[in-house]
Amino acid sequence: MTPQSDALLELSGIGKRFGGLAALSDVSLHIRRGEIYGLIGPNGAGKTTLFNIITGLYQPDEGGFTFGGAAYAHCKPHLLAHAGIARTFQNIRLFANMTALENVMVGRHVRTRTGIWGALTRNAAARAEERAIVQRARELLRQAGIDRPHQTLAKHLSYGEQRRLEIARALATEPKLLALDEPAAGMNATETESLKALLQTIRASGITVLLIEHDVKLILGLCDRVAVLDYGKKIAEGLPDDVRRNPAVIAAYLGGEAA
């Protein structure tokens, strides 16, 4: 694969070790603007580690990545969020004791500027900004299909709602790339369907989506391209149908499950 001008996120030769264990070695990916890109692989293949690297939680031991053309390896998480990468977490990490609305409003932090002075004086600019934050947060909650009172504490939402709230919170940061870590985990069929619709809406609005998922059906029905990780290495990349037929992938992961 040669670097292409339409690449939004370009990983080259990423390596990460924990103690003696190589969690990732020499992983290169390129994710194009506007696509839904799936990352699959058995448990422990290094998918979440890769996520943590591109969102700045871990630093790669080798290699680096560019985002929108600029190099971003060894950056703090908040700078990557600022650059336009937003994520959700495999084991939902909401602000549990804040309301659904507040959770999404926190997502607006990185795109707003009111400081101490504005907060204390509540001047015209601060009030206008606050109104815009609330308005945008409500839109996003509606879009994510959370129709409970927005004052409900995050921890009291149903599991599916919590997953969707996490997506709404991530979208509030106005990302160019939305990275979702197993968004359908634990969802029933109906919830998965509505998630799928939501992801298509998101993509239609011009946001690139990077998806880690176990639900093969979801991946195959949704993703434009798929990469497969196994033991920290990329063993396949391409169109979902091609990847599904790839013998190495079948051996490593899909097995009978895909049939």
Binding site: F18, T48, F51, N52, T55, L57, Y58, F89
Partner: protein, 307 residues
């Protein structure tokens, strides 16, 4: 040269005591993630109970060593009961409560213990009878008492025993399992509550022993002795990496050495500006510096934040 050796000896003795108390903090923290703020007061109660028991027996004609042993057993038993009670009353009901709730009950318990001790034993300083042989020995110009030698040796023996308990026995394995993942340990059939109780009792027995050691070393017992000792020992546990047994031992001994060397040399180092009053400042500066460079303490795990 003589002062250097002397300060090292003093530091080792004090550090052994810190280490024993620090173990109590670190065991509880390892298993519950909780700062047992009342632990320092358990040390004080141990010393006080031992004193009372010894005063009862001292004129009974028993050999002094036997009297001391009896005092130790009574104190350790009392402290184990106390540790068990503290956990049952002040911590267990709050195991799923907000993180800071047990901190406040711990503070409450330590206020209660301190004032109970004041009511029972009074505000005054008590002399702790000298039951161990205490002849000074000269060692390359430095003085070391037999009591001090016994303290260091006893502390070493107890620590070795604790390591064996935790790493080589069934009970120790259960402790480590609960510390690692309580839910999984429970699924594997470990009785979590029993393990936690035993942990508190073990820590409290160590505290009783430490209380007797300090008392024997300084010959004085006071209702307020636990607060400062507890604070230092907690510092030592954090210095070594809280939750880690070897860390607590290392941290305790190091803190003892730092303090005593700091007290001995800080005047010279600062051109006489800082006196030995600043030994505590010195200890805390070292603590802060260590944590800035090693945020999880000296032997603490460097856990990358799990995402």
């Amino acid at each position: 040269m003589e002062t250097l050796l002397q300060q090292i000896i003093n530091g080792l003795v004090q550090g052994s005591v810190y280490a024993l108390v620090a173990l109590g903090y670190t065991m509880v923290y390892g298993i519950l993630g909780l700062i047992n703020f009342a632990h320092g007061e358990v040390v004080m109660v141990g010393a006080m109970v031992a004193l009372s028991a010894i005063m009862l027996l001292i004129n009974s004609g028993l050999p002094p060593l036997l009297v001391l042993l009896a005092g130790m057993i009574v104190a350790a038993t009392a402290c184990m009961a106390l540790g068990y009670a503290i956990e049952r009353v002040a911590y267990r009901p709050l195991r799923n409560a907000p993180r800071l709730a047990p901190l406040i009950t711990a503070i409450g318990v330590s206020i209660v213990l301190q004032n109970l001790a004041m009511i029972i034993w009074g505000r005054e300083y008590h002399a702790f009878p000298q039951l161990l042989p205490n002849s000074p020995h000269m060692l390359a110009g430095a003085v070391i008492n037999e009591v001090q030698i016994i303290i260091v040796l006893a502390a070493l023996a107890v620590m070795a025993g604790l390591l064996v308990l935790v790493h080589r026995t069934r009970l120790g394995r259960a402790m480590r399992a609960v510390a690692e993942n309580p839910a999984a340990a429970a699924l594997m059939g470990v009785d979590i509550n029993a393990v936690i109780s035993v942990t508190f009792m073990t820590g409290s027995a160590l505290a009783a022993l430490a209380g007797i050691m300090v008392s024997a070393n300084y010959g004085i017992v006071h209702y307020y002795m636990g607060a400062i000792l507890g604070l230092k020992a907690f510092t030592a546990a954090v210095l070594g990496g809280i939750g880690n047994l070897r860390g607590a031992m290392l941290g305790g001994v190091l803190l003892g050495l730092i303090e005593s060397l700091g007290a001995g040399y800080i005047g010279d180092l600062s051109g006489g500006f800082f006196g030995s009053h600043y030994q505590d400042v010195f200890a805390f500066f070292v603590l802060i510096a260590v944590l800035i460079f090693r945020p999880s303490g000296l032997l603490g795990e460097r856990v990358a934040e799990r995402a």
